[in-house]
């Protein structure tokens, strides 16, 4: 009996479990079918845009580049690029006008880890990625691109999705963000008329004419916007340091109208500045505005000097100041100009065989023991036209919040350059710290300082307005606290 039941059970299980022939998919199609369908949908989308697409690509090194592209059903793509607005393009085919001459190449859609769009033979977009130099010149031309890396950009993209008609892409190699926006008839026309380049030129001209320092206020904090036509860097102060946010952006050609002298700018993805996320910079009501993800606008105004604290010194935003009468013409003012710079120049020229001061660099660092030492380097030219550098070391200290610096002592660096020059340029080297000597002949080791009468000077550190025509350098100044208005100016350098 027992056996019978067992047998029946076995038979039943065999009968019932046998074969469910139907394959069970979570979706209605096989993965391959779905992949093919998705690729076909993307293909249909790309090839059916009647006026082509605006393709903006965010390179890691140089920010956003925009192309006008059309895709056809035979795997052919025609392209223009705004590359020539920034770079001297050096393609092997010889024509440098990337915004004027459309070129045709191939593309294909392929199922890789994700559905992908590949520009699979060389065209303008590859100039951004090209790692190759020729005749010691980098493609795409005059700097910025790194041999072996290019501008860090992609030409092989995964589809991220379609939203509101825009196709979002992400590069396979550098994770480059890219976006395809359907072109309007006007945009296609503008691109074919060379506007991909002129929109950059107009924007740059507008910036030069209207902004010294672009400033917006976000969460009651002034934000310094360093704007370019391909990227933007925002700087703002926290308690201890300067926060910095950078993002690539792209311009659109059609927002520039008779009432708006220049283009709107879009970020590739929202960027967060002091706690608020922004999507674009828009022209409205006769001015530029940052626009946040809620649509709220923040007007951008101009300021003579940056709206954040100037942080100067080792490990801070700027470590060096560069000064000369040419680069700072109009910015360097009396009394420093006449009493110090020109006086030192004339004294050296007249007293020391026609030697001419070329420039002064003041670097704020530390010595081998970690103690603060600033190096004043005076480059001068002899009558034969050769440049030499005289160097002095200054001991210095900052006040508690870094807004003031005091130079407490000075030494020559030990070479004959400053040893033979110092007597002629005392007004310059003593401007920072007055050092008298009881004996000053021969090599510096034999000089004897009159230590009781060394006079340290304290300076206020702040931005000063760059009033030099045609210069967009960021300028700071050291202002003597005992003589307000007496300012040593310098172009601020980060390294």
């Amino acid at each position: 009996m027992k056996t019978k039941i067992l047998t029946l059970l076995l038979a039943a299980s065999v009968l019932f479990t046998a074969c469910d022939l139907k394959e069970d998919y979570t979706f209605d199609e096989t993965p391959d079918e779905r992949l093919i369908r998705v690729l076909e949908e993307y293909s249909e989308t790309l090839t059916s845009a009647p006026n082509g697409w605006m393709l903006s690509v965010n390179t890691e090194i140089s920010g956003g580049f925009t192309h006008w592209v059309t895709f056809d059903k035979s795997n052919r793509v025609v392209m223009l690029s705004d590359l020539d607005a920034t770079w001297i393009v050096n393609p092997s085919w010889g024509d440098q006008s990337t915004s004027v001459k459309p070129i045709e190449s191939s593309y294909r859609l392929k199922a890789m880890q994700l559905p992908s769009l590949i520009f699979d033979t060389y065209t303008y977009i590859h100039l951004l990625a090209d790692p190759q130099a020729k005749d010691n010149e980098y493609r795409p031309g005059n700097g910025g691109a790194v041999n072996g890396e290019g501008l860090k950009s992609d030409f092989e993209f995964y589809f991220q999705g379609i939203d509101n008609g825009k196709v979002y892409l992400r590069g396979r190699y550098y994770n480059t963000l890219a976006v395809l926006t359907p072109a309007t008839p006007e945009e296609a026309q503008a691109a074919l008329s060379g506007d991909l380049k002129t929109v950059h030129e107009d924007f740059s001209a507008y910036l030069d004419a209207n902004f010294v320092n672009a400033v917006a206020t976000v969460n009651d904090q002034p934000i310094w916007l360093r704007l370019g036509s391909r990227s933007m860097t925002c700087l703002f102060s926290s308690d201890t340091r300067t926060e910095q946010v950078s993002a690539g952006l792209y311009l659109d050609m059609l927002s520039q109208t008779s009432s708006a002298p220049t283009s709107n700018m879009y970020f590739f993805e929202p960027i967060e500045i002091n706690g608020v996320k922004f999507t674009q910079i828009r022209w409205q009501d006769n001015g530029y505005h940052l626009v946040d993800i809620e649509g709220k606008t923040y007007p951008i105004t101009d300021a003579a000097t940056p709206p954040i604290k100037l942080r100067l010194g080792p490990g801070k935003d700027y470590i060096r100041m560069r000064t000369n009468d040419v680069e700072l013409a109009g910015t360097m003012k009396d009394p420093f100009l006449t009493n110090v710079y020109v006086a030192a120049y004339n004294s050296l020229f007249a007293g020391n065989g026609g030697r001419k001061i070329q420039k002064i660099e003041f670097t704020f660092g530390t010595n081998a023991l970690g103690l603060p030492v600033a190096i004043l380097e005076m480059t001068y030219q002899n009558s034969a036209g050769t440049n030499y550098i005289a160097k002095w070391w200054y001991k210095y200290e900052f006040n508690s919040d870094g807004s003031e610096i005091t130079f407490t002592d000075r030494d020559q660096s030990g070479s004959s350059n400053e040893n033979g020059r110092e007597e002629f340029v005392r007004m310059l080297v003593d401007y920072f710290c007055y050092v008298p000597y009881t004996s000053s002949s021969g090599a510096y080791v034999n000089w004897v300082k009159d230590v009781d009468n060394i006079q340290p000077y304290t300076f206020k550190i702040d931005w000063i307005k760059n009033e030099t025509l045609g210069s967009s350098e960021i300028v700071g100044g050291l202002e003597r606290t005992d003589d307000p208005g007496n300012i040593f100016p310098g172009i601020l350098l980060t390294k």
């Binding site: 047998t7 060389y122 190759q132």
Partner: protein
């Protein structure tokens, strides 16, 4: 009873097994697996040219469109300019396939040739030692050529550089099929170094090598010597030997062996190898037989003069 039950059980099970899966899959053989041969595009003139000149006669595939799967994943490379594909592959055919075919017959190339050329527009940068790679061969199956966007058929030096890469890589294919004599590996054994990038050409001459890269190992030495003779010519090689002889004649250099002699010995081994293994004459014979070196040299002149 027990026995019968067992029979029933077996019978039932058998039915179950036999009946079970008659699974007829509706296989659509027309749809290829995506990414595995399913990589399709509308054919252009270039594709037809490749089919007529490489795929049909030699069963060689030329991949000129970007395909990351063929390449090193962690290097930045860019694809070819379309218009350079045919000029380059035309030069490759004239300077590489035709000379071998003329001397060893059509089946030689069919049997030995790599099955795939992968063409890349930019050079491959090697961050570890600051060099660039111009070509690579993978197990005799595939040759990757780099930096082809700089191709200019009238630039002889450039054509020679590319063709040297092809002949170099094909040399590997040949010796990977049938190895050259052990004797070759011992000729200048102490000159081999993996840090050849830090050596200079003068040193290579004094040690009996055609190039610094030849010092990498004896395989590279063999194919470098072969490809330099073919692409830069017998006269170039004779000059190289003369330079080596001059170095040997300079007592101040204190060389351990005569590098000119070593170069000549390498040349002889290569000549014998081609003749005995593949039945190919390296140099012209007195009876009027044209050798491989002459054929290659003539083809280079032909390609670079636009004939």
């Amino acid at each position: 009873m027990k026995k019968i039950n067992l029979y029933i059980l077996v019978a039932l099970l058998s039915i179950g097994f036999l009946a079970s899966c008659n699974k007829e899959d509706d296989l659509d053989m027309n749809h290829e697996i995506l990414g595995l041969g399913g990589d399709i595009w509308e054919k252009t003139e270039i594709d037809y040219w490749i089919y007529d000149n490489y795929t049909k006669p030699y069963n060689i595939d030329i991949k000129y469109k970007w395909d990351q799967y063929e390449l090193d994943y962690n290097r930045m490379l860019v694809p070819m300019e379309e218009e350079k594909v045919i000029p380059i592959m035309n030069a490759v055919k004239k300077v590489w396939i035709d000379p071998y075919e003329a001397l060893a017959g059509a089946n030689f190339i069919k049997a030995l040739s790599p099955k795939k050329f992968v063409l890349v527009g930019s050079a491959k940068y090697n961050p570890s030692n600051g060099t660039i790679t111009l070509g690579e061969a993978e197990g005799g199956r595939k040759i990757v050529l780099y930096r082809l966007n700089w191709f200019d058929p009238s630039d002889k030096a450039l054509v020679q550089r590319i063709m040297k890469t092809v002949h170099h890589e094909f040399g590997h294919t040949m010796h990977q099929r049938t190895m050259f004599s052990q004797e070759f590996t011992e000729l200048t054994a102490e000159g081999y170094t993996s840090s050849w990038t830090n050596t200079d050409d003068t040193e290579a001459i004094q040690l009996g090598f055609v190039s610094t890269y030849a010092r990498n190992n004896y395989d590279e030495d063999f194919v470098e010597t072969l490809s330099f003779i073919l692409v830069y010519g017998r006269t170039w090689f004779d000059n190289r030997v003369a330079l080596a002889q001059a170095a040997w004649d300079d007592p101040s250099l204190n060389l351990k062996y005569n590098p000119a002699e070593k170069l000549r010995q390498k040349e002889t081994i290569i000549k014998d190898y081609l003749k005995t293994v593949w039945g190919i004459e390296l140099y012209d014979l007195d009876d009027g037989t044209i050798g491989l070196e002459t054929k290659v040299q003539q083809a280079i002149v032909e390609v670079t003069s636009g004939l």
